[in-house]
Assembly symmetry: none
Homo-oligomer: 248 residues x 2
């Protein structure tokens, strides 16, 4: 888990439903984020429904701060993003979550302190809060159907934070107890099949035999076989030929 | 809106709550995706609670297909991803949503047909469905707290689809004169080998037969075979068994 001081703070402004506070805590903690602040939550604080929904992410709620105003909640921050679903008649830079979290990481690495504001469930942030932000974050949704709820907006932002900050390789391979086969193992497997297929009359007509063999070699080497796979293919062939007539 | 034929199909396997089907439809449509298939939904179909929750994303539900089995749901697909939260003892490539959707875009640009499987709410996908997939998608969540629900997993995948497709795909797949095999073709190939190997006594001892068969299915679906490859494997098997003793 990253040092909490190196994380952006997620600020929920005037959240209404306790459930949404809990769901936002879960969404954050899924991506390793633990710093939440509330501004004037409608039902006060603490909120048992928030606790119930947060469940295993309770530590996000245990550490949260409650403030009376947005100004107070971001007072110690050096850079504030405001999430918004609709255009505002305000001149502000607008970032995708991806670009915003890349910038947040750079700001924090340089010693900055970042906040991200999320508005109340129905209305979103008021302009009075939006003008307080240094930049806006807008999720590039389908313009025909922009319907992200609060916890989903928190989820996508937290996801992008982790994506920008974790050195997660884009692809890994799970090998269930077995390593990839070596080129020599592939070669021997190809030899085994080629010999038996030759004996079975597979390479016919003769003038096509060479190109058939070449294509078959190409196939084996393209399949990214594991050592288990290679043993399986050997075993299959041996077993299939178990009852072969003598000299066949 | 992109041509629906150029979209991946999102397959919800045995979804339980109608609300989660509706929430998944909303999550998809937020990012412009409209093609959903259900496998054996617990409460049947149509489901009024799904309709109620989908609201403005009702067109996703209007166009959905219901199938009895996962095999049937992906039969026309050439590449299937399975989303999974936990490690499986299976050898499969594992992608982040980002890399998976980048690859999905490249496959579709090259004429492929892509499915993404999402498991039931509590248990996730069964291994019998996972082995059918060509690759896995795993969201890189906080290992201390991996708690994404179904609609959140759909949301992040749909978000990555749109993010990857806002720009032109940077990668394509070259198939030398032959198209990728469909899931149905792979299924039939697996059936062919399984039947002949069964007859040859390959699955021994009996108490290991089921897991041997599962691992073999997993192998076939992992190999990214082309239609040429599939014909070749069928042909090899038939030719190898040409001289089989009667009743062998």
């Amino acid at each position: 888990m990253a040092d909490p001081a190196q994380q952006p703070v997620f600020v929920l402004v005037q959240p209404q439903m306790g459930e949404n506070i809990g769901a936002s805590a879960r969404a954050m903690f899924n991506f390793g984020l633990t710093r939440m602040r509330l501004v004037a939550p409608r039902d006060g604080w603490p909120n048992p429904r928030a606790k119930a929904l947060a469940a295993g992410a309770g530590r996000v709620l245990d550490g949260l701060e409650v403030h009376g105003t947005t100004a107070e909640a971001v007072a110690d921050r050096t850079f504030t993003f405001a999430t918004t679903a609709r255009r505002r008649d305000l001149s502000k830079p607008v970032f995708t979550p991806e670009e915003a979290m890349r910038q947040a990481a750079a700001l924090i690495a340089a010693g900055g302190k970042v906040a991200i504001l999320f508005g109340p469930e129905r209305a979103g942030l008021e302009n009075a809060d939006v003008v307080r932000a240094n930049a806006l974050i807008s999720v590039p949704v389908n313009p025909e159907f922009p319907s992200l709820n609060l916890a989903q907006c928190v989820l996508l932002t937290a996801y992008e934070w982790r994506r920008q900050n974790a050195a997660t390789p884009g692809q890994t391979m799970e090998w269930a107890g077995t390593a990839p086969a070596t080129a020599l193992e592939i070669e021997r497997l190809a030899d085994h099949y080629e010999a038996e297929l030759e004996a079975a009359g597979f390479f016919f007509p003769p003038q096509k035999a060479e190109s058939m063999k070449l294509n078959l070699r190409n196939l084996w080497s393209r399949l990214d076989l594991s050592q288990w796979d290679v043993r399986t293919f050997h075993g299959m062939l041996r077993q299939l030929l178990r009852d072969r007539p003598p000299g066949g």
